[in-house]
Symmetry: C4
Subunit: 203 residues, 4 copies
């Protein structure tokens, strides 16, 4: 994929995430793997509500900037960690919703989702009769250490879905390309909102 196309896809998806309320302040970041060890990713500290291709830059597979003087998103290494582990991953999105923030703060090591038709948005042929366990990790300002915790998790649970939550921080979801990553994010956020609602209601 060419950088211009990647940057355009990232910008459109970022604006949609803003419309949906999932990237408050300058939160959230998005990337697309261009191939040849290059990743297009949002710059550090930019608001996604008016995101344009100029808010996207290039890093290498280890997250080092390929644009002199430019700083990529603070959590670039988490994007790199996903691309390194999952050869089929072509796009990664990270957002903060009220649902994923509140549920991850009260959850243990995972959130189990079952009975939803939308589970079909995940790979491996799940249906409403399947249960999917979304991992929840403790937040950590030390991003390399957080990535090591993720690698250990994926070693233990190779069946984990293409997404995880960080406690009080947000969600990461990936797919083969940006439309698939966004569709999975929307499906997950929808089920989390239902899950939150079910915990909220008395009768």
């Amino acid at each position: 994929m060419k950088f211009d196309d990647a940057a355009a896809a990232i910008a459109a998806a970022g604006r949609r995430m803003d419309t949906l309320g999932w990237v408050p302040a300058t939160a959230g970041n998005l990337s697309v793997r261009e191939g040849s060890g290059r990743i297009a990713i949002t710059r550090s500290g930019c608001h996604k509500g008016a995101l344009s291709p100029s808010g996207v830059m290039r890093v290498d597979a280890e997250g080092a900037s390929l644009e002199p003087g430019a700083r990529p998103s603070y959590e670039t290494l988490l994007h790199c960690g996903i691309y390194r582990r999952f050869p089929d991953a072509g796009a990664v999105v990270h957002g903060h919703s009220v649902a994923n923030t509140v549920l991850s703060r009260r959850a243990g090591a995972e959130i189990r989702l079952a009975g939803y038709e939308l589970l079909k948005a995940f790979p491996g042929g799940p249906t409403h009769e399947t249960e999917v366990a979304v991992p929840v990790l403790d937040n950590d300002q030390d991003i390399p250490r957080l990535q090591r915790a993720l690698d250990a998790l994926w070693d233990r649970t190779p069946e984990a879905p293409p997404g995880y939550l960080i406690r009080g921080h947000g969600v990461y979801v990936w797919g083969a390309d940006m439309p698939q990553a966004m569709a999975r994010l929307e499906a997950l956020e929808f089920m989390l909102l239902c899950h939150l609602e079910e915990g909220r209601t008395a009768r």
Copy 2:
């Protein structure tokens, strides 16, 4: 109705459903009966947020594709089942809202709505003094079997309103044309949201 007009009406209604948050990921599907045994329906797997007429195709009354190589929405047979049963039905919409998902997961075989002015959106002259029972069916990945359950339900309850819920899956609503189908959907979703809120509140 000509295919082009049907496709335009479907695309506009799909985008509105996306704005209202009722078609997350690639969920939801919409159709219009053209007449002469032809149905215009959304293609499989497309997102409704940027739905255009090119995302709409033709099937026959049994749901078989009339466009070589194109795949209609997975739940096409449920649309056909409505058109077969109800000669006056000219448009069908299917969406996933948080309210219809959560309420259908906790409901029994129906959800009873009473006291709402908006009940007047349903046919047969109901008012706020009438009660309408919206059927809730168990979800089933076997769509022909689900349609048989619906036919059995309609045999038993000919007074059923022009809509039903599938547990954890979503809602189907129909009308004489797309504006009427959408108005009924909006009225139903509004009352479900009120119903959800009433179950949520302590005092």
Copy 3:
């Protein structure tokens, strides 16, 4: 005020009410008093999401259509009742929100609002130290009888604010012109949403 200006103001306000989720299906209606016994009001059964001046027509002070063959909104007599009673009223808006529907269904004869800075949107100089009692009437499909109940209420409580709720049905608010009517509606809906939230929360 000229009819064209009145119709444009009504159309813009109707579309905003749709954006705010207050006119689901074909619910809601809006009017502006033109003077000389003429009222511009939304036609019966039109959706407010794409409301244009062509969705607005003229009636006289008793609500009779001044456009041959055209049918005004079903609740036109409630608009006329407000204009007849309150000489300063120049615009009336009616909407259905989840908050006003749910709260009116559980309320007695009024909802008392106190402690909100936004009470200042009502006339008569209220502040956060004042209490405003918004009347709640039982719904009635007999509109003239409902209007008689309103007139009796206004006889008893001349200090009533420029708005009332109908149980399970919606809210009516008026002002000197459309911007003031809409500002009061937005203030009232905001306080009702806070009121609903306060009843919802455990700690």
Copy 4:
């Protein structure tokens, strides 16, 4: 900063606040410090949904109008109080959200936020391991007296974050410029929404 640029930044931020539901009716106000003792601020009583630069005027550092006959926002003195106290403040935003209204009505003298990644939007290097105490003041129609209470608060707690709530009234947030003020506002409102949700949920 030139007045035209300040007015354009204010208008864009005001329209965004309207989209987010934080400036119902004519609530809310926004300002930018131009320097040389001049402040650009929203006019009194205008709706923010269609705010344009013509809805912005100039006042001096004491809040006196620099435009003959024009009336600045009623709470101009609170903007001036922030600029006087905090030399780095370049923009101030004030809004009414359901979350800040409801939480401030039930809070004591502060709301404590901890465990959120978004705390990093505040100055001084907080992380999810830090706690931030957002001050809550009683509402007061006597604005100079309210400003004296704020000055006393800032004397006692120099570590206070760049924002505060007024009970039942709304939030004030500031930053070096409008993008930073808005990012902090969005971060704070997001955390308040999470806080409200956590108080709402039974299990």
